[in-house]
Symmetry: C2
Subunit: 454 residues, 2 copies
């Protein structure tokens, strides 16, 4: 019987397993995972720590039993130590310390990413935590419960950092959020990320930019967080969330080629350079649909898609990963900020001639009560008129997330900005406008583009 | 100087005028409109009558001054009596009764639609109103203000009827909503429209189906609404909203050909059969993108698009109307119901082999508080696997409207159901799922389709 072995029990690995089981009732599927939390929503950790999710077990997309009941074997708390691609075996250490040699016909690597450790002294002090795995969140939770901290410092103002600022504020802590660069949420242009910064400030978060923390020290029972320029905060808890890097040691040692950002090199079939070894998720490089090349862009949505493709192809399928657009959204308090595709600087770097136009527009007819203002930036190519990307920020009930998805779907199909007017989008005064906000933003772009061409 | 004459000052006519001015600063543009309310949001009337829109003037998409300041002449309260297509003149009656002969180089007809008068005795009684134009809404408003009605009967459970049931309930009236057929909101399949019916009932509206009203009688100072089978309600106000038919008398008399549903026949350039006469909006037949033929499908969004195309082409452009998908949404109390594309019966009538699959799915990760259940029906072709249409009903804050727009954008591009999984849609636990609700619905369809094929 064909033996499918998957290393990693998060989004990519589980998606691969489910897809294989969907297509083949008989194939033998085993997942080796390093902890005991298969298919947990890593993206949900801040909402557990905020108290909004009362039971951490609810963070599971599926229970372990749901997975094993499909005839998928889960080896929890097992650590894959090495791969022998010639013999097609993986050496696995069981929780009791015993070593197993597991044979495979096809191997799928979904080893994920790890938190980046920035060059800061004192990261190993008690009270300083990364936030990536369930174990991290239990450690933070215990700190919150046992120590009743009054103040927290969060280093890094990306998605996890921002969500933790929201979460810990909800939990009753005072929060200082520190970002090395001049604006938070670097994945969004500053005029939009400023709306998120304003929302944080409105809720009492101290937002500090242009500060490069270089040390954390223990002072009495508290922690001192400092840079070399005189910035200092004394706090009770530090969360370090400055990014993710691919977890590739296992792969690399086995001779799997790495590429962009030291992520595993894959083609659009999710094949590595070694026969019968596939890889997917945060450990691999990702094909970007607009750029037409691979970059490192780890996202849960992408991990699901890539895992599904890897699973199908491991069974002999011919599915191609259709590419990421980098579509993403974050909600901080009442504000959502979202993007898809390229921004100006990224488009320029790709040799395009972008124009980005910003429009403020109501999410539904202004005459109907409760209209939220959306700030939309659309980026298009001056030469071809092609849509390249979009960003939206505004109240989350302004359907920010699904409006970015309209742009993402248009972008997937390579639409020109002007063609967005042809889309037959829904309208009723309490939920939109005869030209939807996304079309009004596109119209503003077209107008400005033609005016500049004159 | 080229003279552009537009008859009708609602969505289609104004869009045509604005597009022409955008493209040509010099061309002479005149709009003849029968009332004094150019560019009013007819769709907004229920929200004025509910009291949510406090000033009727806010219903204007643009003020008259905004239009005239662009050098567009507005002849308000002018009635176009006849067209001489040979001489290229229109006979117009001014408010003082004087008749003008207006020459044109290009004529655009945007005469709109009129309320259908069903075969009911007593439609002309005081207290019985259609709801189509501003004047209708003023009459209803005056009735509400002067007579303080306690109870209203609404005949017809389409969009306007449903919105008026919501509006008059908000206004404090008891409402009976009467529909001739067995379910309300015939544009949506019954399992979804039932969610809307439940929402109405929950808010105290009496929803009556399978009752074909044939007479309204005056009884003392009240009105009796009755059918021939013994159904009777005594009420203080009757709104009749059973549909729209194209207003085409002017066009027909001039020799303009009519077609589907007696709407003006147009091609995708929005040209009529007569030279230099264009038409757009509720008075014309509409090209349906999936059916590939013209049907009568009057919608404000379509009127805007068609008007824009007509305006551009009247100036010598070569724009084609890209077709309607029939995308629409309505919000009743807290529930939104939306659709795009074809339903099962419509697809069968078009010679396709549809399968429709219904899925109930959370609008965001269920572990995060506040998840709304969405009921999604997707229709696809069994033979080609192509997406044909989708319907969604659920809490309006479940981003129902913009989720139907994701389907609409996919449909515009002729996607197969399976390809929806390739779309890179946004995700964060408070706003979605790694596979968005629209993708989960598509996956359920693909699964059921392949199971049935076995």
């Amino acid at each position: 019987m064909t033996r499918m072995l998957i290393i990693g029990g998060s989004d990519a690995g589980i998606s691969a397993a489910l897809r294989m089981r969907e297509l083949d009732a008989a194939v033998e599927i085993t997942i080796v995972l390093a902890d005991r939390f298969p298919n947990y929503s890593i993206c949900g950790l801040p909402f557990f720590l905020s108290g909004e999710v009362t039971d951490w077990q609810h963070l599971a997309h599926r229970k372990a039993e749901d997975i094993t009941s499909l005839g998928i074997q889960l080896l929890m708390n097992h650590w894959a130590e090495s791969i022998d691609p010639m013999q097609k075996t993986v050496t696995v250490k069981a929780p009791d310390g015993a070593t197993k040699f597991m044979g495979y016909d096809k191997l799928i690597l979904g080893t994920g990413g790890t938190s980046v450790n920035p060059p800061i002294q004192g990261l190993d002090l008690p009270g300083v935590y990364p936030l990536r795995w369930m174990a991290d969140s239990f450690a933070v939770q215990q700190h919150l419960t046992d120590r009743s901290p009054q103040h927290a410092v969060i280093i890094g103002a990306g998605y996890i950092g921002l969500e933790m600022a929201d979460a810990l504020t909800l939990r009753g802590l005072s929060v200082t959020l520190i970002q090395r660069s001049s604006s938070i949420l670097k994945t969004i242009d500053p005029t939009l990320s400023q709306l998120v910064a304003d929302e944080l400030t409105k809720h009492g978060v101290e937002v500090v930019t242009d500060v490069d923390i270089d040390r954390i020290e223990s002072i009495d029972k508290r922690l001192l967080v400092a840079d070399s320029m005189g910035f200092q905060r004394v706090t009770d808890l530090v969360i370090v969330a400055v990014g993710v890097s691919p977890a590739t040691q296992l792969a690399q040692t086995a001779g799997v080629s790495l590429s962009v950002n030291s992520a595993i090199q894959v083609n659009r079939s999710m094949e590595t350079n070694l026969p019968d070894i596939y890889a997917a998720g945060d450990c691999v490089e990702t094909y970007h649909r607009i750029l037409g090349r691979n970059i490192y862009l780890p996202l849960g949505t992408t991990a699901h898609k890539q895992g599904r493709v890897a699973g199908e192809n491991a069974l002999g399928g011919h599915r191609k990963f259709q590419g990421s657009l980098g579509t993403q959204v974050v909600k901080i308090f009442e504000v959502a900020a979202a993007r898809t595709g390229l921004r100006d600087d990224e488009a320029i770097a790709a040799g395009l001639r972008p124009l980005t136009v910003e429009t403020d527009v109501w999410h539904h007819k202004a005459y109907y009560p409760g209209a939220h203002s959306l700030r939309i930036r659309v980026t298009g190519d001056r030469t071809s008129g092609r849509l390249l990307g979009a960003q939206i920020a505004g109240h989350y009930q302004g359907e920010v997330a699904k409006r970015i998805d309209i742009f993402a779907t248009a972008l997937f199909h390579d639409m020109k900005m002007d063609e967005l007017n042809d889309l037959d989008l829904s309208y009723t005064p309490p939920l939109g406008s005869p030209w939807d906000a996304v079309q009004m933003a596109a119209q503003a772009w077209t107008k400005q583009c033609s005016e500049q061409a004159l």
